[in-house]
């Protein structure tokens, strides 16, 4: 089954989110109040590790099964409005729920079942964006 490896990497990610308390509403509050280094240490070293990995993959010229070089499609910056405005809306939601999308799902499984409502509400939010997309500045 080709999906199994993705499930397993997701599982490892889920375990880390819980054990490092990234799923904790309180840790997110500490982060937004600049009272602890924990979350900054996690995000900072995650970015650093990912950056070194990406550089290595590019240097070695690793290609995928389809012959394409491995890497991300660059995001179109445009006016930047969607990134700043969308980012602020998400940030507000992040502070209120205390969870970004991964932890939102993890919390449903880690003892806060009412987060399922937040997850369904997030689907509603994405759906509403899809509906309003032609009218929004990007």
């Amino acid at each position: 089954m080709t999906l199994l490896p993705y499930f397993l990497i997701g599982s490892a990610f889920g375990v880390i989110l819980v054990e490092a308390e990234v799923v904790s509403w309180f840790r997110i509050q500490e982060m937004f109040r600049f009272d602890a280094f924990h979350m900054y240490g996690i995000i900072g070293t995650a970015v650093l590790t990912a950056a070194i990995s990406l550089l290595t993959i590019k240097r070695l010229g690793v290609r995928g099964p389809d012959g394409e070089p491995l890497g991300f499609t660059p995001k179109v910056l445009g006016t930047g409005a969607r990134y700043l405005a969308g980012g602020m809306v998400f940030g507000l939601g992040w502070a209120l729920t205390g969870a970004c999308p991964g932890p939102l799902v993890a919390l449903v499984g880690a003892g806060t079942p009412v987060m399922l409502v937040a997850f369904l509400s997030a689907l509603g939010g994405t759906w509403t964006y899809g509906r309003l997309r032609p009218k929004l500045p990007h």
Binding site: Y6, F7, I9, S11, A12, F13, G14, I16, E19, A20, S24, F26, Q29, R33, D35, A36, G41, I43, T45, A46, V47, A50, A51, S53, L54, I57, V62, D66, F72, K75, L77, G80, Y83, L84, A85, G87, M88, V89, F90, G91, W94, A95, L96, C100, L104, V105, A106, L107, G109, A110, T112, V117, A118, S121, A122, G124, G125, T126, W127, G130
Partner: protein, 186 residues
């Protein structure tokens, strides 16, 4: 079994491990790490309603990511059963600030006074859970990514758009923490 890990798992172990998800997904199938895309795939699967944003082939493009999402859930279930996070050692400053906002039970992963079925239709519960969730879904779709897609993958790839998005994340997060939560929680 609860001593399997020290709590929390230190940042210098958790951070690099999370960072390794990026090359793991690339090497496995040239897939970009980004959890929020799953909201879009699920909308396309459940209620596309003829909307262009949901007209993509979600099975082909998002199947792997939905498997990843299911994995997050499964991993969280196992982790919280095998080695549940114990009492949090929270910074004294945050503890004092939360006490001042009227939160007294600071145990567990979320404040029980807010994130409970019984609180769903109180102001603090509704805003934190229903409105907060809606904003997470709307904002990540609008910005084209969340913490994993922009803050980790995008910044690691030195993408200017992601830096802008992360500035937005913090602007919104600070507004939520210092302006909205004090009104809602009190």
């Amino acid at each position: 079994m609860s001593h399997l890990f020290t709590h929390p798992l230190p940042w210098y172990i958790a951070g690099p491990l999370i960072g390794l998800v990026v090359p793991a997904l690339l090497l496995l199938g040239n897939k970009p790490f980004g959890v929020a895309s799953n909201f879009r795939h699920l909308c396309a699967a459940l209620a596309p309603c003829g909307i262009e944003f949901f007209s993509h082939d979600w099975k082909r493009l998002g199947g792997w990511n939905l498997a990843f999402l299911l994995g997050i859930f499964a991993g969280a279930v196992v982790a919280s059963e095998v080695a549940p996070p114990l009492a949090l050692t929270l910074s004294p400053h945050t503890t004092a600030a939360l006490h001042q906002l009227g939160l007294h039970d600071l145990t567990g992963l979320t404040p029980h006074e807010v994130f409970a079925w019984a609180s769903l239709f109180t102001l603090k519960g509704f805003v934190s859970i229903v409105i907060g969730g809606f904003l997470v879904g709307f904002g990540t779709a609008y910005a084209g990514g969340c913490t994993s897609g922009h803050a980790i993958s995008g910044l690691a790839d030195l993408q200017p758009a992601s830096l802008l998005a992360v500035c937005g994340f913090f602007a919104g997060g600070l507004a939520g923490t210092y302006l909205i939560l004090p009104i809602v929680l009190r």
